[in-house]
Amino acid sequence: MSAVDQVEGPLAGLRVLELADEKGQFCGKLMGDLGADVVKIEPPGGEAARRVGPFYEDIPDPNRSLSFWYYNTSKRGITLDLETADGRAMFGRLAAVADVILETREPGYLASLGLDYEALSYKNPGLVLCSLTPFGQTGPWRDYRSSDLLHMAAGGEMASCGYDEEDVPGAPPIAPGGGNAWHMGGHFAYMGILAALVSRTVSGRGQHVDCSIHEACALTTESAIANYVYRGEVLIRQTGRHHAAGPTPRTQFLAKDGKYVTALVGGRLNPKYVLELAELFDVFGFAHDLRDPKYQDPKAIAEMTPHIIDGLVASFIAGLPAEDVYHAAQERGFTWATVRAPEDLLEDQHLQDRGFWKEVWHPEIGRSFIYPGEAAIYNGSPWRISRRAPLVGEHNREILCGELGVSLGELCALTENGVV
């Protein structure tokens, strides 16, 4: 172990219990990778999130879900049926010494088991309980069912994403991919939990955090709400670029290698910018007329904008590989980038320089795999994947016997009875 490895993450010493499905597992990962001791408590047989693909070697198995692998790093896992008295009793003992409980069960479910905040905090007043649910603990939609797609619709994401009419006539609003409703909810839940923990360092008291994924999504559309509140505008959807009150110039151009480049040019054109564009084009010997003095007149630039963007910029990018355009443009101060697929990222040398990719050891397979790393480098208390996602019930013995003093015989009996 190197010296750096011995420095603890910023959340070291925190015990987190996670009762979370696909809605909350990312938030638990955020805490675990920053050093918290996260114990994931799954129903016997494992969380439904284990049934989400893709699977390792495309063989479906609760221990081979890559989605589960990714979202459950740096956690230990036990199985407990909270609907049994034995399960509740063991949960209660774990809860009595936990700092944080993160739960995503239906509103009222924990209370129906006698596990609401009042009961849980009675013997543990410092406890922070975060309920991260689709719509929060109150309101007319409280018990509505949801999914990532549903949240992208009601949150406003879809109303802002789609295509220009000439690209895809009659296109529907398009929900961005990747399961980002859970990310949005997880980010805000993390913020609420950390705020409660900071508060606890002063007051000694915990509290209940009621976090709504719908509200998190509804907050995450940049200026759309302000455009409506201040100007009454409802925005249109455009291919690969910002929603807007009316059509704006394209920003996504096809490069020679079939990749796209995002080139933010519209709204930025002025005489200086035009000359800088000319210099960029000249590096690659691209024929153009941008050095013509007529472009030093802002009025002429305004008139010639379609020629510059849809003609010159588009042709320039069409003649080169996307990454060549990206780096040449950025080196000259242009805020442009390649539209990369995941497979393009592994080669990114900047990410390599930052040590972004992590090797994570899978003892059950006998090899390690490459995982994405940290959003931010904590220079005083490092982010780290401490272990791969737990197998189903992997730490039952370690935690139930090791910490709660359940004997091996009792553990066998509890397993036979479906408690663990």
Binding site: G53, G179, Q207, S223, A224, N227, Q252, L264, A376
Partner: protein, 441 residues
């Protein structure tokens, strides 16, 4: 006595501008921290240009609606940090603060003498959060981003769209919002760590890099299974799977059908509703809601596999029903029966028509000195003991200069006047605003 707030007594020096950084500090302010925003009117890029100034109102430094929503809960100090005197005042402020947040390009603040190495000498336990485009290390640290560029470079843009079409991407700077979230998360994490250990630190958050972990399952499919995302049927639009292409998971949950957006009455631009059936049971409920019980026995739709295969026919018959109803009506009928459905909502829908957001008090009005009374967005979480709320509209530029300089830092009124005259608190050649005259009297 008012109830305590989570971040009572915490002071944040906020050098951030445009969107991502200010979005971060906005939340720290809602949690009760005192946010002192350092601004300079000559190179301000969050207040201007403004495309959210109300019609018939002059566009100026104090009339951007989006700035207002992004900068609630803050004080504004105008300070020329690039002068020796201004730099000294900034350091005096940092010496009595807990957190510094900045979102300049990498190494700009270091060049001004405000890097972590300098600030730790003034305030040893300072929590210093840098929010830059590409981070402070790595060969491309000097590259610049706006949201769309961070989204493109990180793989986020590619994962959204219809198969065989250009990426639809994200219709806004998702990574300004999300980069802002990470800025706030880093600040809270650093603060928690400081309170426990007494140690501050520098946290180097990158907008582009922060977006990459949001593609986790797609990246593991690549690194573990060797499967890239440039493949037939990906991305599958709003569906979980595109018919006629290889059956592989598309990184948005289980592979099921129906899973799509459907037009609703009266057929306007945002008259759409999404419906998802996660299993056979939900599908059976949906056919009842649609008044098409005969579909129960239709072999084309009887199993998940069959529905996935016959999605075109499936979507067509669902849309034949949804187009007869409004999107809120479809939602209510489906949800009452236990079927997953929600309306596509525009900003207007969210503010005016969403009963859940209304119930939860998502948009509450605040008075702003120039813009008047308007709704601003509230936090999506409730803390039972330390309330989270917006307590003030965004500041006018330099509105709190006197309060901070005299009240907090203990300079005299004559010092304040001298600082206005020598260009420390306002550019000498720039017209002062009415409230400047007031504070200088």
């Amino acid at each position: 006595m008012s109830r305590p707030r989570a971040l009572d007594g915490i002071r944040v020096v906020d050098f951030s501008w445009v969107r991502a950084g200010p979005w971060a500090t906005r939340w720290l302010g809602a949690l009760g921290a005192e946010i002192i925003k350092i601004e300079w009117p000559e190179n301000e890029r969050g207040r201007l240009p403004s495309s959210t100034t109300p019609h018939r109102m002059e566009v100026n430094l104090n009339t951007s609606g989006n700035f207002n929503d992004t900068n609630v809960n803050k004080k504004s100090l105008t300070l020329n940090v690039r002068s020796e005197k201004g730099l000294a005042i900034a350091k005096r402020l940092i010496a009595v603060s807990d957190i510094v947040i900045e979102n300049f390009s990498s190494r700009v603040l270091q060049k001004w003498g405000l890097g972590y190495d300098e600030l730790v000498k003034i305030k040893p336990d300072i929590v210093y959060v840098s929010m830059s485009g590409y981070g402070h290390t790595g060969r491309n640290h000097h590259y610049t981003t706006f949201g769309p560029v961070a989204q493109a470079a990180s793989g986020l843009t590619f994962l959204s769209g219809l198969p065989g079409k250009p990426p639809a991407g994200w219709g806004w700077s998702y990574m300004d919002d999300t980069g802002g979230m990470y800025g706030a998360m880093c600040a809270l994490t650093g603060l928690y760590h400081r309170n426990r250990t007494g140690k501050g630190q520098h946290i180097d958050q990158s907008q582009m890099v922060s977006a990459v972990p949001l593609n986790g399952p797609a990246l593991l499919d690549l690194t573990v299974n060797g499967r890239g995302s440039k493949r037939a049927g990906f991305p599958p639009g709003n569906r979980a799977h595109w018919p006629g292409t290889p059956m592989v998971n598309n990184y948005r949950g289980p592979t099921v059908a129906p899973h799509n957006a459907y037009r609703t009455a009266p057929g306007g631009y945002n008259d759409w509703c999404v419906i998802v059936c996660a299993n056979d049971d939900e599908w059976q409920k949906l056919v009842e809601v649609m008044g098409r019980p005969e579909l129960r026995d239709d072999a084309r739709f009887g199993t998940v596999a069959a529905r996935l295969e016959h999605q075109d026919a499936l979507d067509e018959l669902i849309e034949a029903w949804t187009t007869t109803l409004g999107k809120y009506e479809v939602t209510e009928r489906c949800q009452t029966a236990g079927v997953r459905a929600l309306p596509v909502q525009s900003a207007e829908d969210r503010v005016e028509h969403d009963p859940q957001l209304a119930h939860r008090g998502m948009y509450q009005e605040l008075d702003h000195a120039a813009l008047g009374r308007h709704k601003v967005q509230n936090a999506p979480f409730r803390l039972s003991e330390t309330p989270v709320f917006n307590h003030a509209a965004s500041p006018l530029i330099g509105e709190h200069t006197r309060e901070v300089v005299e009240g907090l830092l203990g300079f005299s009124h004559e010092d304040l006047r001298a600082g206005f005259d020598d260009g420390t608190f306002w550019p000498t050649k720039r017209q002062r605003l009415a409230y400047h005259e007031e504070m200088l009297r």
